[in-house]
Amino acid sequence: MAIQSSNKSKIIYTLLAWSISAAIFFPIFWTLLTSFKTEAEAISASPSLFMFDWTLENYQDVLARSPYFEHFWNSVVISLGSSLIGLLIAIPAAWSMAFVQTKRTKNLLMWMLSTKMLPPVGVLIPIYLLFRDFDLLDTKLGLVIVMTLINLPIMVWMLYTYFREIPNEILEASRMDGASIKAEIFHVLLPIALPGIASTLLLNVILAWNEAFWTLILTAANAAPLTAFIASYSSPEGLFYAKLSAASAMAIAPILILGWFSQKQLVRGLTFGAVK
């Protein structure tokens, strides 16, 4: 009896969960589908789900008519570059706060976090003018600098929460065995901390890839990453749904796949450890 009724509720919950999640996923699914249609079919008043002439011409068009790969490369350089440089700066800071705690550590952490809460418009004009004066406007270098700085607090925090979980005894044991600080870091700490460092890197690549304030404001043709490239489709010139879909699909696919791997770290990273 009891088993029967729980099976029944499992069926109902399953149906409900699948229909709601399908509705949430639908815009992405529809974009993928439209990217394989012709422009005429893409705006058809009686859109068909699968019964259309599948075509790759939109992808070919986007790749042929726009410097898509340049923008893709810009996105890769900016997101990966800023995350790697960020790691180099954040790992030592997080290490020292996690293992050499002082009275100031907590305040320092909170202060770092507070820099993340500064709204970008608060520094918009100075950054724009400084970039103009130092010839950094529309350069990858400029964006790497900004992305590194805006994501540095999140990196320090994430790494800190991971490092804190490493038991101090392990480090003490290695010290007893006469390991130097350098050996302690490279042979004991880093191997244990590698998963945490990898997820920090992953989350920051995702955040930098999708950042759409500074990338839109500080770039034009040369250094524009995919966020800015896609924004250029907002001018209503003719019918372009299929091409918009193809460009969008290529822009979100890599990060969608990376993102699905980072689900668990996402919670920790984005709540600064407040929810685990």
């Binding site: 700066i89 993102g259 685990k276």
Partner: protein, 290 residues
């Protein structure tokens, strides 16, 4: 001896992060503050002069400020309402024993990874367009007049798009929190004959309160700075109907080149964000001790 050695080293290792963040925070912010007291337009360089609080007076008494301040409140409040309520519902649903939970999770989470410009343009053109959009096709199909979302309800349209982006975040955080709920408590409530509603209001909701607070505060920080979604859909219009504070300052600074006025607006945005930040910092600070 070892400790003094490692202390010095620790200070040394902290140094780059602290200096960089300090520079990033202090230098531009001081410049903004300085500019906000100047009559300074990029179109007429060299004519800057000190005008005291006049920029603030102009910014705060501009009808556009009131409208965009109100829009900011509606945008943040609307998205929070939708994502928190929807997120709690989804979290409870995904916590049940269901078939294929991993696939459901993947689908629910997906919108969070879509870049803002893509989600805004996909919704604007392919779903909400009054002639060729899917919603319009559907409306015609069931025989009602299609809605022209972005001219009839621009702010609501943006709220819908942004909620779609942030619902996965709320659901994921709340699901993580709900999974840490002590199952024995629920079983005990079952034995005492508690119904689903009293279980929800007396056990689940109180357990979630901290996660809900975290979601509200973190989302607010990001939602106060919504920009790309407005830029590629309505450009703030019609009129100022879908302009928020962030977008207003952007137009003033980089489209009208009014450095002084834009800076005064920037300082006001910083003050507004700080009020939210204080509450968030308290919450996280408490957690740091525990």
């Amino acid at each position: 001896m070892a400790t003094t050695h490692s202390r010095t080293l620790a200070q040394f290792m902290l140094f780059p992060s602290v200096v960089l963040l300090l520079a990033w925070m202090i230098v531009p912010l001081c410049m903004t503050l300085y500019f906000s007291f100047l009559d300074y337009n990029l179109l007429s360089p060299g004519t800057e002069e000190f005008i005291g609080f006049l920029n603030y007076e102009f910014f705060l008494t501009d009808p556009a400020f009131f409208e965009s301040f109100f829009n900011t409140l509606v945008l943040v409040g609307g998205v929070l309402l939708i994502t928190i309520c929807g997120g709690i519902g989804l979290a409870i649903l995904l916590d049940q024993a269901i078939w294929g939970r991993n696939y459901v999770r993947i689908m629910v989470l997906a919108p969070f990874f879509v870049m803002p410009t893509v989600s805004a343009l996909v919704w604007k053109n392919m779903l909400m367009n009054p002639v060729n959009g899917l919603f319009a096709h559907f409306a015609t199909f069931i025989g009602i007049e299609p809605i022209d979302f972005f001219s009839q309800a621009p702010l609501l349209s943006i709220i819908i798009i942004v909620s779609w982006q942030w619902l996965p975040f709320a659901a994921l955080i709340l699901l993580t929190a709900i999974q840490s709920l002590d199952r024995e408590q629920l079983e005990a409530a079952d034995l005492d004959g508690a119904g689903p509603f009293s279980k929800f209001f007396y056990i689940v909701l109180p357990h979630l309160s901290r996660a809900v607070t975290a979601v509200i505060l973190i989302e607010t920080i990001f939602l106060l700075s919504i920009f790309a979604e407005i830029l590629v859909t309505t450009s703030g219009g019609p009129g100022y109907e879908s302009t928020n504070i962030t977008y207003l300052i952007y137009t003033q600074s980089l489209l009208q080149f009014d450095v002084g006025g834009g800076s005064a607006g920037g300082i006001i945005a910083v003050i507004i964000a700080n009020i939210v930040a204080i509450f968030l910092m308290r919450l996280i600070g408490k957690n740091l001790e525990g």
